[in-house]
């Protein structure tokens, strides 16, 4: 019985460590992506500004309808919050993407 318990604990631990390893490798890929970023052109920055304004507008009209505007949280937390709110408040996929972008800038 003890052996079975140890086996089960080992399996749970392996599953969790697999997840952690996948997570860590994903993080290093992100870091590599960040370091290879090039300076943005004027056109691109204007486009980014438009996206930001659109994101802010959609954030205010969707989120501000029910509650006070929250501060910006770290991106990975924001991704979870926006997914939760997409389901709870039936926010459209398009609005969700704009809001996530705005809230993670």
């Amino acid at each position: 019985m003890k052996v079975k318990f140890v086996l089960a604990a080992f399996l749970v631990a392996s599953a969790m460590s697999l997840g952690l390893m996948a997570n860590a490798s994903g993080g290093s890929k992100d870091a590599a992506k960040d370091s290879s970023a090039t300076p943005v052109s004027a056109e691109q920055s204007a486009q980014n500004e438009n996206m930001r304004l659109e994101g802010e507008k959609r954030f205010r009209s969707n989120c501000g309808r029910c509650h006070a505007a929250p501060p910006k949280f770290p991106p990975r937390m924001m991704a979870t919050i926006v997914r939760h709110m997409r389901v709870r408040a039936t926010i459209t996929d398009q609005d969700m993407r704009f809001i996530l972008r705005y809230m993670t800038e």
């Binding site: 399996l11 599953a15 952690l20 990975r76 991704a79 979870t80 997409r86 389901v87 039936t90 926010i91």
Partner: protein
């Protein structure tokens, strides 16, 4: 006996293993380049209420666990725990503990327009139950008179989503089916229903309608409409709901306005709230039914006025006064207290990019 004990242990181990696997998948969830992390959020509150001269102190905590996994899945579980202290005839305070599971659901985002939900969920009827009920969100701490008219929770499946109808119109929908559950903490009715909403972002206006059909006992149905409006030129929110039940639970409506004093620099953190509501008991109720229904057996009018002061976006002090007019027994409703909305990642690297 021994056999069932062994089976129970196997189920427990399988459950533990499944949870571990789910957690490991959760670490890999990704949204637009950001890996979503499991988070623990929710709210705590402490409120003192004086209802018709009866004092009550109620600390509460409502934790919400969000566990994303993959790009399309999310497990959400929200519980609540409160200890209500009230004065008895001798002037001593007695505490009553209550706890429950608001929802425990698994969401699958099938595509851009549709999400499937399974488990225990809040029924999608109008807007209060799903969106405005958490105590850090609601503008007034006293719940509206429409709440008891419909079945608030379901156990089964739901399909919901939203899509842009035109450039200036979003359409949202939710359809559900719930089975009957008689567990004292997780009771639900066998019922079906849905909600359809239209949101005009330019005008800041949302209108919609809901329907619910109970499929047990005397099979009553409820229908409702709702409205939420935020004009672009003023920091004002107007909300309203109407609900009507074909059974013994009557009909009710409420209209609420919230004005944030953001134009006055020294008072920009303050918002003023007013709400008026009426409940109409079903006609032709027998004396025995009226007694059984309690508050739902009598016509009620209520007016509330309140203030919320945001110390920070997540900490709010609130106070309100309401006057309830019930046949033969009017009452003053005072509420004062604070709410705190907490949010934390479940892992140390949760905050990193």
């Amino acid at each position: 006996m021994m056999c069932s004990f062994i089976r129970l242990r196997k189920v427990a181990k399988a459950g533990l293993l499944g949870l571990g696997f789910l957690f490991s998948l959760a670490l890999q969830a990704q949204d637009d380049g950001f890996k979503a992390v499991p988070i623990l959020t929710g709210s705590t509150a402490y409120f003192t209420r004086v209802t018709a001269g009866q004092y009550q102190d109620a600390p509460t905590v409502s934790p919400l666990l969000l566990l994303p996994f993959g790009d399309k899945w999310l497990v959400e579980a929200k519980g609540s725990y409160s200890d209500t202290f009230s004065k008895n005839a001798q002037g001593d305070y007695n505490g009553t503990i209550s706890y429950g599971m608001a929802y425990a659901q698994i969401d699958y985002i099938a595509n851009r327009y549709m999400t499937f939900v399974a488990g225990r969920f809040t029924t999608p009827f109008n807007i209060y139950g799903e969106r405005l009920a958490p105590n850090w969100i609601r503008a007034l701490q006293t719940g509206p008179l429409t709440s008891p008219v419909t079945s608030g929770s379901g156990l089964g499946g739901m399909m919901r989503g939203g899509f842009p109808g035109t450039e200036s119109l979003n359409v949202t929908y939710a359809l559900y089916f719930s089975s009957n559950n008689t567990h004292h903490l997780l009771a639900t009715d066998r019922s079906t229903g849905g909600r359809l909403g239209f949101f005009l972002p330019r005008q800041g206006l949302e209108v919609g309608a809901s329907f619910q059909q109970v499929l047990q006992a005397d099979r009553p149905h409820s229908s409702g409409v709702f409205l939420e409006w935020q004009p672009n030129r003023a920091p004002l929110t107007v909300r309203s709901e109407f609900v009507r039940s074909s059974g013994t639970k009557g009909s009710a409506y409420w209209i609420e306005s919230v004005y944030r004093l953001s134009q006055i620099p020294s008072l920009r953190r303050l918002e003023l709230v007013g709400r008026g509501e009426q409940f109409f008991a079903a006609s032709n109720l027998s004396a025995a039914t009226v007694k059984k229904l309690g508050a739902l057996g009598k016509d009620t009018n209520e007016g509330d006025f309140g203030m919320n002061y945001y110390l920070r976006s997540d900490i709010r002090a609130s106070a309100s006064y309401g006057r309830q007019f019930v046949l033969g027994r009017n009452a003053n409703l005072w509420t004062v207290g604070m709410t705190y909305r907490f949010l934390m990642p479940m892992l140390p690297q949760g905050g990193a990019r």
